[in-house]
């Protein structure tokens, strides 16, 4: 390939990866995830009730879920209820699963590697959610860090899930970086920013779902759990968590899981 052709191809690739080209709705992101080997691997694990799983949540203050929910559950805590009690038949088939939230306020990709053994390495994780925005790095560096984190999670034998942060004025570039790395690494993706935008329109930044500019409140965390369930195709019947009312939404607008309402035979 000549130099000129190479430049044209690169430009086309870049255009294809532009912000407008990402999957925008929860349905589209579910379809995207379904094409990945990790999706099949995750569901194989989920449906093997005899083997309990360890779910790790790595992240920053949003994942830590302190203070800004005013005593309500964080999205990680909602997911623990969903998986350990409500999953599929709603009778605690996966109650042996363990949820470990190793997130801490102020965490970022740079610091993760220093604490990796404590936050991840000491556990035999099956699945690891990563919610780390970008505070200080050039986007390229941030993308490198995310890719390294994904690689480390895979080395630990776990399935990585990258999370695009909730809408926030300081994380717009970071959102595209997370999507880009997820595509490059063929990694499962939960796109909170896109989901909030799908539900609310505009830039998706809904003050009723926030405690402050950066942090979701109790409702925001509930919406985050919705996004995870829908975009990872987690099947539920009669989830009480997802039936909770959401401020500013009609009943069922966000509460209805996209996934099959019936258990697999």
């Amino acid at each position: 390939m000549g130099r000129r052709s190479h430049i044209v191809l690169s430009a086309l690739l870049s255009a294809a990866l532009c912000a407008g080209c990402w999957a925008k709705t929860a349905d589209e992101i579910l379809l995207r995830n379904k094409k990945l080997p990790d999706y099949a691997a995750l569901h194989k694990k989920l449906d093997d009730y005899k083997k309990s799983m360890i779910w790790i949540f790595v992240g920053n203050s949003v994942t830590q879920g302190a203070m800004h929910t005013y005593g309500q559950r964080s999205y990680e805590e909602h997911m623990a209820e969903i998986i350990r009690w409500e999953y599929k038949r709603g009778v605690g088939d996966r109650m042996g699963d363990l949820f470990i939230n190793t997130a801490e306020s102020g965490e970022e990709t740079n610091r993760f590697f220093k604490k990796e053994e404590w936050q991840l390495g000491q556990f035999k994780a099956d699945i690891v959610f990563v919610y780390l925005g970008n505070k200080v790095n050039p986007e390229k560096k941030y993308q490198e860090h995310l890719a390294n984190i994904v690689e480390h999670i895979r080395k630990h034998g776990a399935i990585p899930v990258l999370e695009v942060p909730c809408p926030s004025p300081t994380q717009r570039k970071a959102c595209d970086s997370v999507r880009l790395v997820a595509d490059q690494q063929k990694c499962l993706l939960v796109d909170h920013q896109a989901y909030w935008q799908e539900l609310c329109g505009g830039n998706g930044d809904k003050p009723e779902w926030k405690s402050n500019v950066w942090h979701p409140n109790g409702t925001g965390h509930l919406v985050m759990a919705h996004a995870i369930v829908k975009e990872l195709g987690i099947e539920l019947q009669g989830s009480r968590v997802l039936a909770l009312p959401i401020a500013g939404m009609e009943p069922g607008q966000a509460g209805k899981p996209h996934t099959s309402p019936s258990p697999k035979k």
Partner: protein, 254 residues
Amino acid sequence: MSMKTIITAVCAALALCGACRADSLTDMNARNAKLPDYKALHNKIDNFSKPMMWLFVGDSITHGCMHTHTERNFVEHWMEIVKWEYGPKPGTRKDDIIVNTGVSGETATGFLPNAKWRLGQFKPDVVFIKFGINDANKVKDIEKFKKDLTSIVGMVRKAKAIPVLQVPMLTTDNQANRPDYAEAVRAVADKEKCLLVDHAAHWKEASGSDTAKAEWMNNTLHPNALGHRIMVYTIAKELGIEPKNSPTLKLPTP
């Protein structure tokens, strides 16, 4: 009688009088404060440069699902207290990790064959142990319960962690052997010189009987969200871990 003797006698009388007035939370905190594990626990929690792992083993109440109607259970409240509210500034212990391995329907006897998954694979600093509700229903052998609970305490100590036994809260099912199982937990804690959180004593003080207050329960056996709030309050008071101005502990006054 010398003046010194008189003063000593008066002081002793005042102290006894104080003990009479003290509520169960204060009494239990005083009991715990005499144990080496209390000092060890406080040394750990006040060493802000070293993160801790807190492990909870138990039954459906520790599992904390369904009956809180999607609100936080006592383990999740504990996470907020430790990881955010404790220490000189918010988030001083944000590196701490809380693991809840409680499962619905579990007994002390049933825990033992699963101990590797629920305890052995971790390196905890503190392990909260709460069994008894299902042991009284299913196993119905109180000597075996004591033996198995003692084994769990031994396993925790072998893992170099601090065990904290919890006496289950009261229920509303009027099952006759519930007080016996509560006494069994207290007896093991005394024998093993183990930290104790006595939910039953605190609930009894509140209800004035051996039956739980209905407004703290979701059904005959399980606390609701308010019940879980009361439980975390009891833990904080009896272990002497009470962050100043804690929003979690300010909630409904028991």
